[in-house]
């Protein structure tokens, strides 16, 4: 079973994301900021990370930069999921090592298409 770590300081968003990811067949873990997420990853690297940007303690951008420098830290597919929707921010996230980017508000179809794009779900035939 593929695993996904949901990193967001909003409990509501974590719950929504968990529901979507579990429906897509992922095993889900949660972290409420970058520090918690780093702790998770040092214990076990997940297959995917759904990552908020603005969070207390350590924000998403700093998290992804640090993660990529860790041993095994290049393997997880990192998908930002944030209200930031300026092109410059998206570029910054990709340059820091993110694989994909979701702008809130989002839904299950968007999450599924991004996971398919990074190769963790089969492409929907339609």
């Amino acid at each position: 079973m593929l695993s996904c770590l949901v990193v967001d300081d909003s409990r509501v968003i974590r719950k929504v994301s968990r529901r979507i990811l579990e429906d897509l067949g992922f095993e889900v873990a949660e972290a409420s900021d970058g520090v918690e997420a780093m702790a998770w990853c040092s214990a076990m690297m997940p297959d995917a990370i759904l990552l908020d940007w603005r969070m207390p303690a350590m924000d998403g951008l700093e998290f992804v930069s640090r993660l990529r420098a860790e041993p095994g830290g290049k393997r997880p597919k990192v998908i930002f999921c944030t209200v930031e929707n300026e092109i410059e921010r998206i570029r910054e996230a990709l340059d820091a090592g993110a694989d994909e980017y979701i702008m809130k508000p989002f839904d299950g179809a968007i999450v599924a298409s991004k996971l398919a794009y990074v190769g963790l779900l089969p492409e929907l035939a339609a």
Partner: protein, 272 residues
């Protein structure tokens, strides 16, 4: 609520004008598609709009109603594998066969442009091939064409299928929307075309994309459109249908998994 007889009138209008199959029982769908057009045309409700169409039969308003019912579901890179094969293999082969002449590509029923722009962005990123390809796109709906030409998409539309790197490379933010770069937009030439009309004036094409549109049409209209598209194929040309659509027996698969077909008699000849 739009009455049953109004819905039947609308379904008949769509059938007559565009061969479009509209299920008169789907009152919710009809209501939701028609409401914005009714508002735009200055009517208080979709009921009033259909009432006026039935009474006065205004030509332009009739088309506006038909166009609204024919809006296709469209997104960027629908079936990504199709685009990868087109750019990686099909178009280079066609270009080779054309020996320096441009490869003419036509996206028939382009909707709001996501499909032809998906291809255009890839060709912009592969300029050697891109320079050998000419892109044309058509739709029945003027409104679709206007939206397509503007190249302006909502956040929701861009997230459906468009990879973040493509978004960053080819779009800029304009208010709450994302605007495709003029460089990519200018790669496409647009035209309003009803696929039931005589298509011979459009010339011939090496590649025609017409995906997931035929299934919206009646069997009779499907046949007529397919005949028109086949006649518009240049020798050795290829037609791309939706991966779940199947063409008549006069077309034979060149790569069925991506919905790619060629003329059956040509393929038989080249095999012999």
């Amino acid at each position: 609520m739009i009455s049953a007889s109004d819905r039947i009138f609308l379904a008949a209008l769509c059938l007559a004008r565009a061969g479009l199959r509209v299920d008169a029982d789907k009152s919710y769908l009809i209501e939701s598609r028609l409401a914005p057009v009714a508002r735009r045309e200055g009517f208080a409700s979709p009921e009033d709009f259909i009432g006026a169409l039935r009474e006065r039969g205004d030509e332009r308003q009739g088309w506006a109603a038909v166009e609204a019912m024919g809006l296709p579901e469209t997104e960027f890179y629908r079936n990504r594998a199709v685009f990868e094969r087109l750019v990686g293999d099909v178009l280079p082969t066609l270009a080779q066969g054309r020996g320096g002449q441009p490869v003419r590509v036509w996206n028939a029923a382009c909707g709001s442009g996501q499909e032809i722009y998906s291809l255009a962005m890839m060709l912009a990123d592969a300029p050697t091939l891109g320079r050998q390809v000419e892109l044309f796109a058509s739709d029945l709906s003027e409104r679709n064409l206007e939206k397509a030409q503007a190249g302006l998409y909502s956040q929701f539309e861009t997230q459906r299928g468009l990879p973040a790197r493509m978004l960053v490379r080819h779009f800029e933010k304009r208010g709450e929307s994302f605007a495709l770069s003029p460089r990519v937009r200018q790669m496409v030439r647009w035209r309003r075309v009803n696929l039931l009309d005589d298509l011979s004036r459009l010339g011939q094409f090496d590649l025609i994309l017409c995906r997931n549109m035929l299934t919206q049409l009646t069997a009779e209209a499907q046949e007529r459109v397919l005949d028109g598209l086949k006649a518009a194929l240049a020798p050795g040309g290829r037609l791309v249908l939706g991966v779940k659509e199947s063409p008549g027996s006069t077309l034979s698969p060149a790569a069925r998994e991506i919905g790619l077909y060629g003329l059956a008699d040509e393929q038989a000849r080249s095999a012999a």
